[in-house]
Amino acid sequence: MRVYDIALKNLNRRKGRVAFLASALAIAIGTVVTLFSLTKALQESVGAQLDQYGANIIVLPRSETLSVSYGGFNLSGISYDVRALTDQDVEGIQSIPYRNRLSVVAPKLLRSVVLAGNEYVVAGVDFPRELRLKQWWEVEGRRPENADEVLVGYVAAKQLGLIEPVAENRISAQEHSHAPPSGQSFRLVARPLSIAGRDFRVSGVIRETGTQEDRFIFADLKLVQQLFQSPGEITLVEISALCNGCPIEAIVGQIAAGLPNAQVSAVQQAVKARMQTVEKLVKFSYVLAAIVLLIAFLVVTVSTMSSISERTREIGILRAVGFRNTHVLQMLFTEITAVSLLGGVLGCLAGLVSAVLASPYFVEAAVRVRPDSRLFLVSLTLALFVGLLASVYPASRAARLDPVEALRSL
């Protein structure tokens, strides 16, 4: 028989007390696990929603001239780029160490054209990427499916006579969107659009966005590069980084390191807003977790004090037969370790189940609470920490118990 055998036999005898202590710890750990699981899911949910707001990094060629504003960013003069970006630069962006954090990398070639006496911007884009990035676009008509199809901004379409009032056939680029149509109702006029001597079919018109994109004509990137004799050339790259807790500055740094000719900027305002939201959630969960753990700490302390008081006689006997203080401590800490581990395991499981059950009320269905081995380890560590810390004072009092005083209770 060893000291831990004595401890385990005592636990076996005091099943009620073990159940009480383990439950107290399990409730605390369970609450913490639920809180953190939900917070994490909320972070992902909020992050996913925020990531849909568009680009948060923009890559421009290094240039002395700034003359065009696009999407809230100042762009270098289209005609005066010193060293233009290329398709290879886009590939470089997609191979940075943080590439798995990049949601969309959307390159563009911008060229100005004059049509019917008005100046417009032709934007060569990769449509699948662009539409994924600009999820707020509402397209009247349909998305381009061929290289000779274009999307036209609302103002441009209106000025070029590509639409006429009252139309019904509207689709949204945002899948599963049930948002009502915005702005004036119109329909497409089936007529080709000639750009740089080539006819394009207008597959759709983007409803009014209130930005310069309303005067843009979006066409296939390769075709625009070919039309304007700019093979492989890129004017700018818009990037949507999944910044749900990601180090945006590090991503910017990695892109900049790979593209010495480029100017890489983070959209600080959006990033800061995201980070603030996430930080508030985390702080809130920290405060709640601390309160719950403090309550558990007090419950364990009081219960252990009471238990040791009941066991004064037993401790006196052990001391009389030659147990050292350290042996008594070893016995008591073995007991609390076993109870804490039990509470930790039960708490972790209960917390995960609670989080899964509660998650539909807090987060989108797409974001799921997932079991995490690290969370399990953290739960056990936390339960052990609380249990052992709460037992330090009662156990040290028990170990210092005068055997003669203890035996007087015989």
């Binding site: 028989m1 060893r2 005898r13 037993e314 006997i317 009389a320 037969v321 035996l407």
Partner: protein, 252 residues
């Protein structure tokens, strides 16, 4: 040098841990030879149990020295003193002295559980101790399933399992009926005859017949130390005037 030597031991208990309270033992000096069976008698509050715990290296005296087998036990650190207690002293108390959730065998094994002996060696020695007290067949019973006398036997088994040279008993027959009490005292006598030194506090005058020496305390002072008694029982007739004199002031 005697096996146990107590030199001018005084013990005060203070009510709140501060200052010196009333003296429970006053300048007590004793020498106990190896193999003696010492019965400590005296009225309640005379300091008998205190003297026993001082002898058992559990109760630091306020003044004076205690030497057991030449070791000044209170000069040892508390941890070393616990080790010394485990090796040298076996305690037997009056009642409620077993750990309730351990079987008779496990209770007997307690002092060995912190030794380096293997589990099998521990069990073997505990079985032997239980066999010695005639309780081998009930080794796996919990204390609640044992009679008072059987519990006392388990306590004796626990006291001897480590083969200590000194057994201390604090009224070990106090809660037993006279028949069971005699059986327990017979056990103590056997242990004494096998060479163990026994110091026992008792109110029961009948136990005097088993002792080779009777020390009487009154108000913390040794008022009588009778070494003339022989070891072969009955040493003193219980109803003899000699014993009545020894246990004056107590129930007889």
């Amino acid at each position: 040098m005697a096996f146990i030597e107590i030199h001018n031991v005084t013990k005060h208990y203070s009510a709140n841990g501060a200052g010196e309270g009333a003296a429970v033992l006053r300048d007590v000096s004793l020498a106990v030879e190896e193999g003696e069976f010492v019965l400590i008698v005296g009225p309640s509050g005379s300091g008998k149990s205190t003297l026993l715990t001082v002898l058992g290296s559990m109760n630091q005296p306020s003044r004076g020295h205690v030497l057991i087998d030449g070791v000044s036990v209170y000069d040892l650190s508390p941890e070393r003193r616990a080790d010394f207690r485990r090796e040298y002293v076996g305690f037997v108390f009056q009642q409620l002295q077993l750990v309730p959730y351990l079987t008779a065998l496990e209770n007997a094994t307690l002092p060995l559980s912190i030794s380096r002996l293997s589990n099998s060696a521990q069990a073997e020695r505990a079985h032997e101790a239980l066999r010695r007290v005639g309780l081998e067949t009930k080794a796996h019973r919990l204390p609640g399933a044992l009679s008072g006398g059987e519990q006392e036997r388990v306590a004796i088994a626990r006291a001897i399992v480590n083969h200590p040279p000194l057994i201390l008993g604090d009224e070990p027959t106090g809660s037993l009926d006279s028949k069971t009490g005699k059986e327990i005292m017979e056990l103590f006598r056997e242990l004494n005859q096998s060479g163990l030194t026994i110091c026992m506090v008792s109110h029961n005058p009948e136990n005097a017949r088993y002792a080779s020496r009777i020390i009487r305390l009154i108000d913390g002072t040794v008022v009588e130390d009778s070494r003339h008694l022989l070891r072969t029982p009955p040493l003193v007739a219980v109803n003899s005037p000699e014993f009545q004199d020894l246990d004056k002031g107590e129930r007889v």
